[in-house]
Amino acid sequence: MVLVPSDNWLEEAKAGLLPPISVYWALQDDEQQAMAEGRHDTFKHDPEKHAAQWTAPRIGPLTEEEAIEYLIMKDIPRHIWSVEYNRPMFKIVKTADVPSDRQFRNAWRLAA
């Protein structure tokens, strides 16, 4: 797997427009719990938690590296990056270093 960041999102991150990552985690947790309890078909986010994506205080400008780390914690399943394994589970590289050939790109796996 290869995660490709959006340039527009990166600009927002560098400009300091992102909410705390905990805002997204709270939404993910609620949805995961709904899925686990079999009520996902009718699931709807708590309006206050949902609105926090726009109303929570911004965290301030991030460097490019900090922004990528934030993006990983937002868009990659938590079990991949939050647990210590006996081998590296992912690597942050420049775009030019990502293999363009599908055969080699497939060798990059994020899932355990």
């Binding site: 797997m1 290869v2 490709v4 999102w9 949805e31 996902h40 709807k44 790109r105």
Partner: protein
């Protein structure tokens, strides 16, 4: 001279915030001479033009990233979570210079077929043998 009036709503208690974009240019919003409702239900909330062959996001709005899963399969990660999973999506594929790569496009929500408010998993298959294939133009949009 016509005027612009900002008007509160006495029946609500929330605060409406107009946020400037991250730009060094002067931007102008020109309103049409008719009644409009901005950003209401049914508007396009997110979109992305993604090249799966070169693994590059050409342009996007309200998409934080795309995850290249494997040939013909990728995940679009929305910048902001939707309030529920009943948003509408459209996925298009094309741009391959090959007469055999006639795209058949579909999608599933999240992993394992479950809907999520934070991502959309898409897949394509060429119609000749049903195998998954990357397309140079992957256009995805979400309406809610």
């Amino acid at each position: 001279m016509a005027t612009i009036k900002l008007q509160g709503n006495a029946s609500g208690s929330g605060t409406v915030i107009l946020t400037a974009p991250s730009t060094n240019s002067t931007r102008t919003i020109t309103l049409p001479d008719q009644d409009v409702v901005l950003g209401g239900a049914g508007s396009i909330k997110a979109w992305v033009n993604y090249s799966h062959t070169s693994n590059v996001i050409r342009d996007s709005n309200q998409v934080s990233s795309v995850t290249d899963i494997t040939a013909g399969i990728f995940t679009v990660n929305w910048t902001s979570a939707f309030s529920n999973t009943y948003y509408i999506t459209s996925v298009m594929a094309g741009g391959n210079n090959s007469s055999t790569n006639v795209p058949a496009v579909g999608y599933s929500f999240g992993g394992g077929g479950a809907a999520t408010t934070t991502l959309l998993r898409s897949f394509n298959a060429e119609d000749v043998d049903g195998g998954f294939v990357d397309y140079d133009n992957q256009d995805v949009m979400a309406i809610h």
